[in-house]
Every structure is written in C-alpha cells, then in structure tokens.
Symmetry: C2
DNA sequence: TAGATTGTTAATCGATTAACAATC
DNA sequence: TAGATTGTTAATCGATTAACAATC
C-alpha cells in the first residue's frame, strides 16, 4: 500500500534504473534478490535502496529479501508504465526520426500517436508506421486525439514559439531535445530537457580533469 | 586563476547550462549580466550561481556583475571545449546515425574520427562525411588514431562484450546510449549513461502524479 | 529457534541558501 | 562618495548512510 507523501525527485530518478535491472534479472530467471545484492550491482548502498523502495510501501520480506517479479511489477505501477499516455513528436529530422523509430514508447508508458514537420520533403513519409503530418494540421489533430505529451526535436530557434503553441493547445508535458531550456516559462508544465550537448560537455570536463596535465 | 579542490559533480553538471545560456546572451549582443539576472533566467538562486562560479575563480566584478564574453570563455576553458578529444561511434543504426549527424562535436570538445558497424548494409555508407567502417578494423584504427572516447549506440545485448573490447584497446571514456549501465564494471572509466528510456519513464511518473486520480 | 534481511529511526554528510563584508 | 554586486563564510536544508529493532 502506497505511502506517498513528498517523494523527492532523486528517488524517482532511480526508479527506472531499478526497474530496468529487475527486468534483466527476471529475464535471467532470478526470482529473489536482497537489497545488498542489488546495491552491489547498481553501485548504491543497500540502505538507500531499502529507503527508496519504502517510500512507496513494504515490498520486501524480512529475512528473505525481495521477489523480483513482484518488485518489478510494483515499480512499473509506481511509474505508471501501463498508462499509455498519448504523445506526439514534432520535428522529423535526424534526431526526431531516430527517437520515433528507436524508442519503445509502449514499454515506457507512452503511445506515439503522431509525427509533425513543416518540410514538404518530410510530410507524407512513414516513420515506424506513422505518417509525418503537416504542422498546419497540429491543432486539428490534437483536438481530436488529445495527446498529453509532446516530444520536441526541432532546432533551438523554433522551440520558443512551438512550445507556446503547444501550451495553448493544452499540452503540459514536454520531452525536449532542443538545445534550449523551456522549464522556466511554464510553471505548471512537466518538462524533461534532454541536453545531449550538456552531457558531452560534462564528459569533456571529466576527460580533461583525469588527464595528467590537468 | 583556478582554485580546484574537490568540485562536486552537481556543480559540473550546471556548467554547460551556464555556458549555453551565456552563448545565447552573447549572440544577442548582451555584454553584462549579474548573478541575480542569471538566476531568474535559469531558475536557480543567485547565491548558487556565485558559489558555482567561485569554485573556479573570481570571474565577476564587485558592484558590476559578470562580463558575458569573458565568463563564457572562462567556462568554455573550464569544460575544456577547445580540446577536440578524438571520439569514435559504434553502431550506425537509427540512433547512431542521428547522433553522428545531429551533434556538433567540435563545439562540445570532441572530434568524431570514426564510425563502426558490423552490418554489411551499413559498412561503406557515409554519415556526415565519415564512412562507416567494419567492426573488424576497430583495433587497427584505434592503434593508429588513438581515440579517447567511444559512443555506444549498440543494442543492450552487445554492450557488455563491446565495452570490454574497447577497454582492452585502452578506451576509458564511454558515452553510452544503450539500455544498460556500464559504470560499475570499470572503476577507472569515465561513463556517461544516456538512458532515454529512464527519462521517458520519469516523465510518465510525473504525468501520473499530476493527474487528478493519482 | 537461529539466521537473515527488511523497515525505520537516528546520525552524518553534502549541497543549497542566506547573510554580509569586501570592493568595484 | 553612494550604490551595486561580488566573493565568501555561516546557517539551513535535504539526501545519504548507519544502526538496529522488528519479523519472516
């Protein structure tokens, strides 16, 4: 039974890792695991794992550990992965195409319902079974399908106007791949900025710091 | 002049955001900014920004603020963006192709020197001017070019063996896009796991938590 | 029962924020 | 000089770790 008070974002961000690892254990046919074993594999402390899981309920059995199958399901439920939230993707360039075809949205709680672009070279193409629609049909589509999440794969310059347009349509959740932060603009929006450039720069710093001359 | 004792990773992870934002200011021709203005734009506290920057030196002028141009350059130097570390990319599938063609490696401190795949359908193709090489030529290529970083865009099942192979060649830095954590295996390696699935699941949780019935 | 491992509270650690003296 | 804003120390807050009682 969930406890749910104020669960911190740092706990939430660890849940997918637990889930991913438990899925792998399940595939291997492992049925039982202790917090100590888990901690060794994930590079965390056993304490932290028990603490994290206990935010949501007592999923373990004292003296025994956790049942992989059950824990995996529980975490999936906590994350809401069975919900199939409707998503649209804007920008069918390199990255947009890769995201649309590479990700397993259904396994992660979403359903990709539409892809939009403004380029005549893109419109009409099929990506992973979904036809790329003209940006001008965005409002009509959203009124009909009512997606809750938008994946932004457009250039930096376009994001500002685009997010305003999507916000006006009623979309409050953004998965943003552009090199631009949209978090501050809409206080009631859920934003996940995936800044691949930031990630690269962080790596660059670490290499530099690890190098002898540094 | 740098101070450099033990700078925490949370500080480092904010540097690219500062850098990105300052670049934008510079483009707009803005020459001066205070920590208070920056904090408002980035959704941080002014205190934190001053604290962060002071880990590396006193880049500001009391009573005046920070000179955009200068601060931008300083942060670029701290990150080491001018270093052009040699990188290779393994796996020329959807995501690999997108990463190779979409990212501006040189702006982020790297130089993409090679792309590898084992599929005959991929080998020989050109992506962003770089020909896809046969995986069997990996060792010879690395002995010659000596890349320091590997971008992993291969399926989950392949990562384990691949990272061992790369580690044996001498590569200690991994930008990993597969759904598999490689951090724990090599204690002396620099690993940046980009788990797009985890990011999606986190969004899923947040939508669920924000929904009325939750 | 004895052994093991969780659930949970208390202690520690680190990161963020607040405050203010230094100084441009 | 007066006003503004940094650099830096001290206070607070939150997250992680340690410890142990509960219990399977």
């Amino acid at each position: 039974m969930p406890k749910r008070e104020n669960i911190s974002m740092s706990v939430i961000r660890r849940l997918p890792r637990y889930y991913r690892f438990l899925t792998q254990l399940r595939e291997k046919g492992i049925t039982r695991i202790s917090s100590t074993e888990l901690s060794a594999k994930l590079g965390l402390t056993a304490s932290q794992i028990r603490q994290d899981l206990n935010c949501f309920g007592g999923f373990g059995q004292q003296g025994y550990g956790y049942i992989v199958e059950q824990l995996c399901k529980e975490i999936g439920n906590i994350l809401g992965l069975q919900n199939g939230y409707k998503a649209i993707l804007i920008g069918a360039g390199n990255l947009g195409q890769a995201i649309a075809s590479h990700m397993s949205f259904d396994a992660d709680g979403f359903l990709l319902t539409g892809i939009f672009d403004s380029s005549p070279f893109k419109i009409g193409n099929k990506i992973n079974g979904i036809e790329v629609s003209d940006m001008s049909t965005l409002e009509a589509f959203c009124a009909r399908v009512k997606p809750v999440m938008a994946i932004l794969c457009v250039p930096r310059e376009a994001v500002d106007a685009l997010s305003d347009r999507l916000y006006a349509i009623g979309i409050r959740c953004f998965w943003n791949f552009s090199h631009y932060d949209i978090a501050v603009k809409y206080p009631d929006a859920i934003v996940e900025n995936v800044h691949l450039n930031d990630s690269l720069m962080t790596l660059c710093y670490q290499i530099k710091s690890a190098s002898p001359q540094a």
